[in-house]
Subunit: 219 residues, 2 copies
DNA sequence: GAAAATCTGTTGAATTTTCAACAAACGGAG
DNA sequence: CTCCGTTTGTTGAAAATTCAACAGATTTTC
C-alpha cells in the first residue's frame, strides 16, 4: 500500500493526517484495495451504500441509469478523488448511481460507518476525518452545482460553452484536455451525440474554439 | 427567539443539541435573525459566502442567474431548512447563487467560521455541529442529485413525470401540493412555461395525472 | 500488419421545443 | 362588487434537437 502514499496524501479525506499515522489509521478503518479492469463495475446501482471509494490509480465514471437505459454521466473521478461518500454518509439504503472503471483502476474501499462512529481503540483521528468529509461534501455540492449549471442551459451550444468555460477556469488555462470522448461528453451534457459533433464543428468554423479529439482551446 | 424553538429543534444543523443549551450556543455563535418581505434578496449572487442561513418562518428560493437573465430555480427551502452552507463551508470567495424570499420570511444567519473554528470559550458543541453539517451536506448532495435526474430527462413530459414521482415519493403519497406556480415549475424543470402548461394538459387528458393549480395527483 | 471494432462527423427528415401573442381565469385592493 | 394586475392555457410559426443511417478515421486485436 506504501506505493499509494503520494495519492493518499493528496486525497481530501486525509488532509491533516500525519504521514506516519496514515497506514495505521487505514488498517484501523479496515480499508482495502481492489482492482478493476476497464468497464468493470465498482458499485452497482441498487447495492447497499456502505462504502466510500477512493481512486488510487486509473479513473472511474459515476453513472445514472434512466428509465430505459439512457446512460447519463454524472461525473468523472480521477486519482485521489473520493466517490459515493454522500450516499454512505446520508445512510441511504441503496445506491442511486453506479460506478464503473474507465480504465484499469485500483480503488480503496472504506466502510463509512467505521469513519462516522468512533471505534473501540478510541482513535483520535475520527474528528479530523469527519471534518474532512464535511469539506469534501461541500466541494461535491459545488461540483454538482456546476453540472446543474451546464445542463440547465437550453441549447446545445450553450451547454458546450458553459462546460468548456468551467473546465478552462478549473485548469486555469484556455487550453486543456477533457476526460470524455464524444459520446461520453454528450452523455455528460445530456444532449445528442451527432448534434454535439455538429455544434463543435460550427464553433470551430466560427473561430470560437479550437479542438482536436479531446483537446480543446477557447479563443 | 424562544418562539422559534420548535423550528430550530427540527433543523438538521442542531440535531443532538440539548434544548437547554441551544440558545446559549446560538448567542455564542453570534446568530442573528433578519426579516425579509416577499421578493427581497437574502443573499445576492457575488456577495461573500460567509453566512449559513436557516429558514425560521416563510420560505426562500435558491436562484441561479444565467448568462442573460435566464432565471433558473435550484431549490425551494422551507421552515427548518439550511441554505448556502455548501458555499460557506467550502470557503468560496463569493456566492454563485442568490437567495430570495418567497413570502415574508424570517431568516437566522450564522457566520460559518464561528461553527468551523473552535471559539475561545472552548465550547463543546463544535464537534456535534460539524458532524451535523456533514450529514446535512450529504443530504444536500442527494437533493441536487435528484434535481440533476430531473433536468437530465430529454423531454418535457419526462421531466414533469420524474419531478412529480420524486415529490410523491418524498411525501409518501400520490396526492400533494408543490411549492411552485407554473412559471416557477418551468424554471425548476428548465423548460418553457407554455410547453409545460400544454404537457400538463395532455397528461391530464390521458388520465396519467390529475391537477388543480399547484395540487397534483398521480394516477 | 491486416482485419475487425469503435469512434467521429455529416446529412436530411421527423419530432419536439421555444417563442410570441392573446384571451380567459384568478386574486387582491379599494 | 368591480377594477386591475398577474397567472394560466392555447395557438401556430419558427427554431432547435433528436433520430437513423452511413462513410471515413482511428484504435484495438490477433
Amino acid at each position: 500500500m506504501k506505493k499509494y502514499l503520494s495519492v493518499l496524501k493528496n486525497c481530501p479525506l486525509f488532509y491533516g493526517i500525519r504521514e506516519e499515522n496514515l497506514f495505521t489509521m487505514l488498517s484501523c478503518l479496515g480499508a482495502r484495495v481492489e482492482s478493476f479492469d476497464k468497464k468493470y463495475t465498482v458499485f452497482a446501482e441498487g447495492s447497499p451504500a456502505r462504502y466510500i471509494g477512493i481512486v488510487l490509480s486509473g479513473s472511474v465514471q459515476i453513472l445514472q441509469g434512466d428509465y430505459y437505459g439512457n446512460r447519463s454521466i454524472l461525473s468523472h473521478m480521477k486519482e485521489s478523488d473520493v466517490f459515493a461518500e454522500a450516499f454512505a454518509c446520508a445512510e441511504l439504503p441503496s445506491l442511486p448511481i453506479s460506478v464503473v472503471a474507465n480504465e484499469p483502476s485500483e480503488i480503496m474501499l472504506i466502510e463509512c460507518s467505521h469513519i462516522l462512529h468512533t471505534c473501540n481503540n478510541n482513535c483520535g483521528f475520527h474528528q479530523q476525518l469527519i471534518f474532512n468529509l464535511m469539506k469534501d461534501l461541500a466541494s461535491k455540492t459545488i461540483l454538482f452545482h456546476q453540472k446543474i449549471e451546464v445542463v440547465s442551459q437550453r441549447t446545445t451550444r450553450d451547454k458546450i460553452m458553459t462546460y468548456l468555460s468551467q473546465e478552462a477556469k478549473k485548469r486555469g488555462s484556455n487550453s486543456f484536455d477533457i476526460p470524455y470522448d464524444r459520446q461520453e461528453l454528450a452523455d455528460y451534457l445530456e444532449i445528442d451525440r451527432s448534434g454535439l459533433s455538429a455544434e463543435i464543428g460550427k464553433l470551430k468554423k466560427e473561430g470560437i474554439i479550437e479542438s482536436h479529439k479531446n483537446h480543446f482551446e477557447l479563443l
